[in-house]
């Protein structure tokens, strides 16, 4: 070993995709901190997360979906449907405390609906969730039509808008808790290993006795449930809902996950990668906002990032094949 002082395991970590992401995060934070003296204050960081908290919560469960070799394009529509169903139920006179579990149930049902077609009928998740992207959004529009519904109970709005513990609002605490749960499930449990196993080879997993259908169904139901939760958080944060709540969020969510090193072909990726990617996207958006770059352009830049995130590993693999000798030496 020529590199002497740095342990091999640490070097491998730094050379990995996560190491690269970490570098980018540090760079972006430095740039942002130099651009604005208020950037590194706790309050600004909380605002930064709070503005996209619904998306990053869904990104956690999307990590499972994509590692499992599937895709869920319907998440943003489930968020919209959940928010609108909540608004509609409250407007019709149901106490918000009862509406919340009911709406979470609706979200799980949406996920189960997707799962029936994907698991039981064996249809491609891309097509199924593209159709339900339209259908669930349509249901949201049936509920609220072209109105906006507000006037939620004060405690509900407060949960979305005020700090709950210290300076941290509820959504952020939920995000932290869910991150830990997602990390433990994916990286430390047998279920997590099965998610990877199915993603890298569905047939081998099935022949090895893994109940592929059950794992996939569980993930899609979880995806619906978490999306509904995110929709509720959105309703609480904004204090009103409309038919176009979270419209187009699926692009941002999938971009975050893929940028985090999760392979669209399944089997590869980590929650750590997704978390680093979340930091990158949030910092980048913050930086672009500071530089007066508007929302549409920000999304365009994310699109460029998305292509780069799949292109760089592809090029790296090609380079590795060309200079294969180095790999053998390790």
């Amino acid at each position: 070993m020529s590199g002497g002082r740095i342990p091999a395991s640490l070097r491998a970590q730094l050379a990995s995709w996560e190491g690269f992401l970490l570098l980018v995060v540090v760079l972006l934070v430095l740039l942002n901190a130099l651009a604005s003296p208020f950037f590194l204050t706790v309050q600004n960081q909380i605002n930064l997360f709070q503005l996209s908290v619904e998306k990053i919560i869904v990104a956690l469960v999307m990590t499972f979906v994509i590692i499992n070799g599937e895709i869920d394009l319907s998440v943003a529509s489930v968020m919209g449907l959940a928010a609108c169903a909540f608004g509609w139920l409250v407007q019709e006179g149901m106490p918000a405390g009862w509406a919340i579990p009911l709406v979470l149930g609706i979200g799980a049902l949406c996920g189960a609906f997707n799962a029936v077609f994907i698991v039981a009928l064996g249809l491609p998740s891309l097509v199924v969730t593209l159709a339900t992207l339209i259908a669930f959004r349509g249901m949201a529009r049936i509920l609220v039509e072209d109105r906006g519904i507000g006037d939620f109970p004060a405690w509900f709005d407060r949960l979305g808008q005020q700090p709950l513990a210290g300076p941290f609002p509820l959504a952020l605490i939920l995000f932290a808790v869910l991150t830990v749960i997602a990390f433990v499930i994916l990286q430390r449990t047998a279920f997590g290993r099965r998610v990877y196993f199915i993603g890298s080879s569905r047939e081998v997993a099935a022949f090895s006795g893994v109940d592929v259908g059950r794992v996939k169904a569980a993930i899609f139901v979880a995806s619906g449930l978490v999306s509904a939760l995110a929709g509720l958080l959105y309703a609480a944060r904004v204090g009103a809902v409309r038919g176009d709540v979270a419209l187009g969020f699926e692009l941002d969510i999938i971009t975050i996950v893929l940028l985090g090193g999760v392979s669209i072909f399944g089997g590869v990726g980590t929650i750590t990668g997704t978390l680093l990617s979340i930091l990158i996207v949030l910092n980048l958006r913050n930086g672009m906002a500071l530089a007066n770059i508007t929302g549409h352009i920000q999304t365009g830049v994310l699109g460029v990032l998305l292509i780069l995130s799949v292109m760089v590993p592809a090029i790296r693999d090609r380079a590795r094949r060309l200079f294969g000798a180095r790999e053998v030496a390790r």
Binding site: I71, F117, L121, G122, L123, P124, L126, V127, V128, L130, A131, T132, L133, I134, A135, F136, R137, G138, M139, R141, I142, E145, D146, G243, L251, I254, T255, L258, I264, F265, T294, H296, I297, T299, G300, V301, L302, G303, V304, L306, I307, V310, M311, A314
Partner: protein, 343 residues
């Protein structure tokens, strides 16, 4: 008795039957439903979607997907509109050629990433969906194209009839769209270059061994999809005249819907653009008719559309699985393997 009819023909017959059933249903529940205006309205809006969907069909046949078409339609409509506002004297042929070329350029960007760099098309086109739209937003600076800035022949084209029989108007736009569908159909079914799209989608490895350049075929599928979206962008400009930065939003879903409802296998390798045309017409028919049905509000359109697409995929999958199983049984009985090839 259905065994003798080829699977593709059977599928189109089923689609036509569903189409007829939907027309009958709505004419029973909506008063004064069947009239010339309905035909004129639906045929014009189908003309635009059908063209985009034919391009999408080429892409889907090769096992890919093009989610960026809506943004391409918007960009082309806006850029061509801007050019026309600046130089109203441009000859119409040049304008249409420019629209197709700009569209093909966008398609080539997708094709380059998917075919040359081997990136998954869903990621590439999801990204270019956002990138092309942001190009449009950036270059427009928030201003929009208005009808009064365009030369009179542009909006005039959308109104011009090729033929008229008792109120039923056959617009030139519809003629162009039909021509595109027929040309695409002949190309796909009768030409060697057309069959290659099926070969790549049905079995990429076998196609490669047969000497087909997979990357090139996929690249051209995306270029075609972009070019047709560009042509549709010109039609869009002609039909609506007022173009904002959100023009063409949602065409990606409509075109994928039409392709899937029209019986093109989402895993590639099989399908028929005549089916795609009927699929586009069916979706538009339901879309337009639901607005006029008193029992449901117009807000039901999306929900019904989504469920319709889902139903079409389920029906198509179950149907073709049953068909394949039957063919295998028959082939086994006859001791031949030739029967499977025809599916």
């Amino acid at each position: 008795m259905f065994d003798r009819i080829p699977a593709q023909t059977l599928r189109i017959l089923i689609l036509l039957a569903v189409f007829a059933a939907v027309v009958l249903f709505f004419s029973a529940v909506i008063e004064g439903y069947l009239n010339a205006r309905l035909f004129n309205r639906i045929s014009t809006s189908v003309a635009i979607v059908a063209m985009i969907a034919v391009g999408q069909a080429f892409v889907v046949l090769t096992r890919n997907i093009d989610l960026s078409v809506g943004s391409v339609v918007g960009c082309v409509a806006y850029f061509v509109g801007g050019l026309l506002a600046a130089w109203p004297g441009m000859p119409p042929v040049l304008v249409v050629a420019l629209a197709v070329l700009i569209g093909a350029g966008f398609g080539a960007v997708n094709g380059l990433f998917v075919a040359r760099f081997g990136l998954p098309s869903i990621i590439v086109t999801l990204a270019t969906l956002a990138i092309f739209r942001s190009v449009l937003v950036e270059s427009s600076d928030g201003s929009s194209i208005t009808t009064d800035r365009l030369p009179a022949w542009v909006p005039g084209f959308a109104q011009a009839n090729a033929a008229e029989i008792g109120g039923l108007q056959l617009r030139w736009m519809v003629v162009v769209a039909l021509a595109v569908v027929i040309l695409a159909h002949v190309f796909l079914t009768r030409f060697r270059a057309g069959r290659q799209f099926f070969a790549i989608g049905s079995n990429p490895d076998a196609a490669k061994f047969a000497g087909i350049d997979g990357a090139r075929t996929v690249f051209w599928a995306f270029v075609l999809s972009g070019a047709l979206a560009g042509l549709a962008g010109f039609m869009f400009l002609s039909r609506f005249g007022n173009i904002t930065v959100v023009a063409g939003l949602g065409f990606e879903l409509k075109s994928v819907g039409a392709v899937v409802v029209g019986g093109v296998n989402i895993f590639g390798g099989s399908g028929n653009v005549i089916g795609v045309l009927i699929g586009a017409a069916l979706i538009d028919l339901i879309d337009t008719s639901l607005v006029r049905w008193e029992l449901v509000s117009e807000f039901w359109r999306e929900a019904v559309l989504g469920l319709l697409i889902l139903a079409a995929v389920v029906a198509d999958t179950l149907l073709s699985r049953r068909l394949m199983a039957r063919r295998r049984r028959m082939a086994a009985r006859q001791g031949t393997v030739g029967a499977e090839k025809r599916a």
